[in-house]
């Protein structure tokens, strides 16, 4: 979507003058993309572009969420997602509280629910949660009164990452319908893959998951996803490649013989770019392992939109915060 049409959307939703959250948005939390409709996903994408435009590409601070407080509750290391949420909150005029702690609650002696309740008692309006264990934001949403935003729960979902990936594709191709998007790498341990799969399928894209058989379940086919173990075979058909990081930290047992062998089979390099479609988009959720999932030439090459993804991340997170907190008296849905 161009900036002109983004501004049109902003005007249509009275974004700049009398901002209101549309009635078509009725969620209190953003826990994943699995249970959002295509319309709801599109709404977030549209608002992301509108808010990005309204902040004059990040140069102007809005006061849409003035007086609201957002807590970043990160139980797992993160720099980009945490900073992205912080910046998004600040560009909307909200205050932020940062809490980070690594390790599970067993190691700390305080349950993560108690930690979250403590933060909530500081009267925050939303908590942004990242945790190495799947389902933690869902558990928090049952124990807290405020909004909960999933910033990545184990290998389960990372909805804002899925949304920013999809927004980046839409900006380049106009629409997702009919595009072939391949997620390459460690699908089993990837929350980014899961959120992308739900979002892409709902918006009409064809999705391929590709990687070593120990990390790519055949069962994905039952959800209408193509499963492939050969990047070279699917390469000529792909419009977009999303190169997932190998999550060494989540793999209890090394699922492939060596990084060397992995790069031979799945790394995106110049030679593979030559066998791709001329306008292929190369994406990566980051942090990227240069030389593992992709070579530096590809990461910095003309097909790469990796840094645009980062910029879009802030826009998506602004839209998310605004939709969840933008009503004066949020309805509890």
């Amino acid at each position: 979507m161009s900036n002109t049409s983004a501004l049109a959307v902003a005007a249509q939703h009275s974004m700049v003058n009398a901002p209101t959250v549309p009635d078509s948005w009725q969620h209190k939390h953003l826990l994943g993309l699995e249970h959002l409709s295509a319309e709801e996903i599109t709404l977030i994408l549209d608002y992301a572009e509108a808010l990005h435009a309204a902040t004059l590409n990040g140069r102007k601070k809005l006061d849409l969420l003035k007086g609201r407080t957002i807590a970043n509750l990160f139980f797992e290391n993160s720099t980009r997602t945490r900073n992205s949420f912080s910046l998004a909150a600040k560009r909307l005029g909200a205050d932020t509280v940062e809490f980070s702690s690594s390790g599970s609650s067993v190691a700390k002696g305080e349950t993560f629910i108690d930690t979250a309740k403590t933060i909530e008692a500081m009267l925050v309006d939303a908590v942004v949660v990242r945790h190495s264990s799947a389902g933690t934001p869902h558990m928090l949403s049952k124990h807290l009164g405020c909004s909960v935003i999933n910033a990545g729960d184990g290998p389960h979902e990372h909805p804002t990452q899925g949304l920013l990936d999809i927004l980046t594709i839409r900006q380049h191709r106009g629409s997702l319908a009919g595009l072939t998007v391949a997620m390459v790498g460690d699908i089993a341990h990837s929350r980014t893959a899961r959120s992308n799969i739900w979002g892409l399928l709902k918006l009409g894209a064809k999705v391929i998951v590709c990687g070593p058989a120990t990390l790519v379940s055949k069962n994905w086919e039952k959800l209408g996803v193509e499963v492939s173990y050969s990047l070279d075979k699917i390469l000529p058909r792909c419009d977009v490649l999303n190169l997932l990081r190998i999550q060494f930290e989540r793999q209890a047992i090394r699922p492939f013989p060596s990084v060397h062998e992995y790069t031979l089979l799945y790394a995106m390099n110049q030679e593979r770019i030559r066998r791709s479609k001329a306008d292929i988009l190369i994406m990566a959720p980051g942090p990227i392992n240069r030389g593992v999932e992709l070579t530096p030439e590809v990461a910095d090459g003309p097909h790469s939109v990796i840094l645009e993804q980062v910029t879009n991340g802030i826009a998506i997170r602004m839209a998310t915060l605004w939709l969840l907190l933008g009503r004066p008296n949020p309805t509890n849905v």
């Binding site: 699995e34 599970s104 609650s105 067993v106 349950t111 993560f112 629910i113 945790h131 190495s132 264990s133 799947a134 389902g135 933690t136 869902h138 558990m139 729960d153 184990g154 290998p155 389960h156 979902e157 341990h189 929350r191 899961r194 379940s217 069962n219 994905w220 039952k222 959800l223 209890a252």
Partner: protein
């Protein structure tokens, strides 16, 4: 609590799984012993308390082989007092307590501790299971002879599987000297380690670590082969996969002697419940997909599965408030097991009352060579009175168990235990 032990139950539906009886009649209990069915009036002592149980079932008390409490060592989960109270509230008149305590029950003194605590609690009969391996560490045999001498009714490292095949083989051989059964929780841990839920579509979507069905299938196959090889006695505590059921069915057809059990959770709860990320749904064996549940029900129906166990495994509230990866496995079940069986097996017609009671009382009692599971004259009057038509709603906080970890909270179930009698003495009466 009443100590009266002479009763006449009138207008009862009497179910005796030890002889396949299910008919109307009156049942006499004199001084704590079963004294016959359809006795004439002159045989009824004058001091007998008459109870007209029209519309209700009188059956032998339930006998559980897979109960875990926390005492000693984890009293925050369950003590022998609270746990046995939960047992009688659920219709159990006898339980075999897991050796999984801290320290584990691997010495004669600890067996004695369990038996004394059980006797002092004076709720239901409490039997002790001894460890198969020292400290339950799965390496070398515990002093099984001493454990048996002290009163251990069977040997078990449960809920841990006996991973070491050599150890299991030795245990089967060694226990045959004492005519004791070895219990194994069939699971190949090198396949399932780190797993949280049943591997399948739900698990794929949720991104939780998998417990593949074949981890159980392979252990079942191994165990059955070892029974054949050693002639030892083995009980598979917890069957939950279609593969296990099929292996057991074939083993029965070949005449291999063994017993097996299923936990009530695996009778009707499925892996889709994990979508709630409620740690109370994290149990072992894991909640499987519907096709596995269906295969287990067929196994119960055709006699492939002998025994229905509670799988009662209490965990204090704070332990289940952890992330699903970190929370311990287990659910409490003593107080819901019978109603789960009535609701999901008896009322839908999968098992008759008599068959269901056999799997919950007569078969487990027979397996351990203990009394129970019968209405036969002269045996101790361990009885339950059940109102099969009354419904109730599970309220975890209102149960007798010290812990609340059940995924059934809020669910409506059929069948209420009106009274539980042990040695003819009423140890539980429904309010």
């Amino acid at each position: 609590m009443q100590t009266h032990s002479t009763w006449l139950f009138e207008n009862a539906r009497l179910i005796d799984p030890s002889c396949g009886m299910d008919r109307r009649g009156r049942l006499l209990v004199v001084d704590g012993l079963l004294a016959g069915i359809d006795v004439s009036d002159e045989d009824v002592p004058a001091h007998a308390e008459r109870w007209d149980v029209q519309g209700c079932i009188v059956a032998p008390g339930l006998f559980d082989l897979s109960t875990e409490f926390g005492e000693p060592g984890r009293e925050e989960d369950e003590t022998i007092v609270t746990g046995t109270l939960a047992a009688v509230a659920g219709g159990y008149t006898a339980i075999a307590l897991s050796s999984n305590t801290d320290p584990p029950i691997d010495t004669a003194a600890s067996v004695e501790f369990i038996r004394q605590k059980g006797a002092r609690a004076d709720n239901c009969r409490v039997y002790a299971l001894g460890c198969v391996s020292k400290h339950q560490q799965g390496e070398s045999l515990a002093e099984i002879g001493s454990l048996v001498e002290a009163g251990a009714v069977a040997l078990s490292d449960g809920p841990r599987p006996i991973e070491n095949t050599g150890l299991l083989r030795r245990a089967l051989e060694y226990c045959s000297m004492f005519d004791r059964v070895v219990f194994d929780h069939p699971e190949i841990a090198s396949i399932s380690r780190g797993g949280v839920m049943h591997e399948g579509m739900e698990q794929l979507v949720l991104g939780l670590s998998p417990i593949p069905a074949e981890a159980e299938d392979l252990a079942t196959a191994r165990d059955l082969r070892l029974i054949e090889a050693t002639g030892g006695r083995l009980h598979l505590t917890s069957i939950s996969t279609s593969g296990s059921v099929e292996l057991c069915r074939r083993a029965r057809a070949r005449g291999i002697p063994f017993t097996n059990g299923i936990y009530v959770a695996n009778l009707h709860l499925v892996d889709t419940l994990m979508r709630s990320f409620d740690a109370n749904c994290k149990v072992s064996p894991p909640l499987r997909s519907q096709d596995h549940v269906d295969a287990c029900l067929e196994g119960l129906r055709d006699g492939t599965i002998d025994i229905i166990s509670s799988g009662h495994r209490p965990c204090s509230l704070e332990k289940k408030m952890l992330e699903i990866d970190a929370a311990p496995f287990g659910m409490i079940a003593l107080e819901t097991a019978l109603s789960q069986v009535i609701t999901y097996l008896i009322n839908p017609g999968i098992l008759s009352w008599c068959d269901a009671m056999a799997k919950m009382s007569w078969n487990p009692a027979k397996l351990l060579g203990q009394s129970g599971g019968t209405l036969q004259r002269g045996k101790p009057a361990d009885l339950i009175v059940i109102d099969p038509d009354r419904k109730w709603k599970v309220d975890a906080t209102a149960l007798q168990s010290k812990s609340y970890n059940t995924p059934l909270n809020g669910m409506e179930l059929d069948g209420v235990v009106l009274a539980t009698l042990v040695n003819g003495r009423k140890r539980w009466a429904c309010k």
